[in-house]
């Protein structure tokens, strides 16, 4: 719960300004549109069967299987960069024990790492990027994670939907200081996720899991609002 409160307070526009310039964001969107031509125009909902196709096109290994052992559910996925000594192609792992919408978001995030590699060419990159459930706040301090999350936000909230949710219902409108989501925006986001992704926070019967998904919802929605407010995308 504290994580959610913290995310609600964080200034996403500030993080975007700090880590991702307009040009970098545009090139990330262009790269993403090569994978999903409807990116930022229509909502993207990934089916399990599509993950292998996309990985094949990107020439990336895909490991999609459940991991529940120990605290395995906390691990949503990871991306391993290719290396001369070990992997000839990068590897994306997604934990399929999660809700299908969460699996899709994780895959999108890991593809974001793959696409963003060019943005950060020349910078020292970690050999592995982990995506843990409870680590959204740390993504705001890490350009590599933030870039990967941008792709998820654009996939879940294409521009027409983002404008409808954020431009009208939030008290500040599209001013570049997107901070608190209004109650009306939260309602609209919940409806959007329920209709588009069959995510219903009130019906899963797993309160702890719901809270982590809720943190994800706040994070990606605020990030999307920030992108709209700061870059008008």
């Amino acid at each position: 719960m504290r994580d959610i409160e913290r995310l609600m307070r964080r200034d996403y526009v500030r993080a975007l300004r700090r880590w991702l310039g307009y040009r970098e964001l545009r090139s990330l969107v262009s790269a993403g549109a090569k994978v999903w031509p409807q990116l930022n125009h229509e909502r993207i909902r990934l089916k399990r069967s599509e993950l292998a196709d996309i990985s094949g096109r990107l020439s990336v290994h895909l490991s999609a299987r459940p991991h529940r052992e120990a605290d395995g559910m906390a691990l949503r996925g990871f991306y391993v960069r290719k290396s001369e000594s070990a992997l000839k192609r990068p590897l994306i792992y997604v934990n399929t024990a999660h809700h299908p919408a969460a699996v899709g978001a994780t895959f999108c995030h890991e593809v974001g790492h793959h696409l963003a590699a060019r943005l950060f060419a020349g910078k020292k990159m970690e050999p592995v990027n982990f995506f843990y459930d409870a680590a959204y706040a740390t993504h705001l301090d890490d350009p590599v994670e933030l870039a990967a999350d941008v792709l998820v936000s654009l996939a879940a909230y294409p521009e027409p939907i983002a404008r409808r949710i954020f431009a009208k219902s939030c008290s500040g409108g599209l001013v570049a200081r997107a901070q608190h989501l209004s109650a009306e925006a939260v309602t609209q986001i919940c409806n959007h996720l329920k209709r588009g992704y069959r995510v219903d926070f009130t019906r899963s019967g797993q309160p702890r899991r719901d809270l982590t998904y809720l943190a994800g919802m706040v994070h990606f929605a605020k990030l999307r609002w920030g992108i709209l407010a700061e870059y008008d995308l």
Binding site: R6, R9, R10, D11, H61, S63, H67, E69, A70, D71, G72, A74, L75, F78, V80, A86, L87, K88, R89, L91, Y93, E126, P127, V128, F130, Y132, R177, Q179, H180
Partner: protein, 145 residues
């Protein structure tokens, strides 16, 4: 590059939020002159005021605390330099489980790769190392086909 002071951070944030010193003071429950003193660096906020500043201005309280008390940074850096207990324990447990290492035929080269993974400081359970390794092994096998 010169690092910003607490006063500069507060002033910048207050102005970005279009608040006057008086308005911010009202939200914090202090006098406007106190806000002016904080922004000029002539006063240090108490811990409870720091928390309220974080809430009202939407700023993280820990960096604010460090700006208000730079001398505390040395103590905290020492704490941060030490690896966090949980991941380190996970790695030690993994390395110490000789039966597990033998059963899964983990080579010294693979251990080197996993040590790198451990240095990222995110893996919280010994079983995760095995899971990550198996995912990589599978991919390497696919590469060699």
């Amino acid at each position: 590059m010169k690092k910003k002071t607490l006063g500069e951070v507060l002033k910048e944030r207050r102005e970005a939020m279009d608040l006057t010193q008086r308005e911010l003071a009202a939200k914090l429950g202090v006098k406007a002159s106190h806000v002016a003193y904080l922004e000029n660096g002539r006063r240090r906020p108490s811990l409870s005021l720091l928390r309220r500043l974080g809430d009202v201005l939407g700023l993280e309280t820990e960096p604010l605390f460090l700006l208000a008390h730079p001398e505390a940074k040395a103590l905290l850096c020492k704490r941060e330099a030490a690896p966090s207990k949980r991941p380190e324990n996970a790695w030690r447990k993994f390395l110490g489980d000789h039966a597990l290492l033998a059963r899964n035929k983990i080579t010294p080269r693979e251990l080197r790769v996993l040590r790198q993974v451990n240095m990222l400081g995110r893996v919280s359970s010994p079983r995760h190392f095995l899971f990550i390794l198996n995912s990589i092994r599978q991919a390497v096998e696919e590469d060699s086909i």
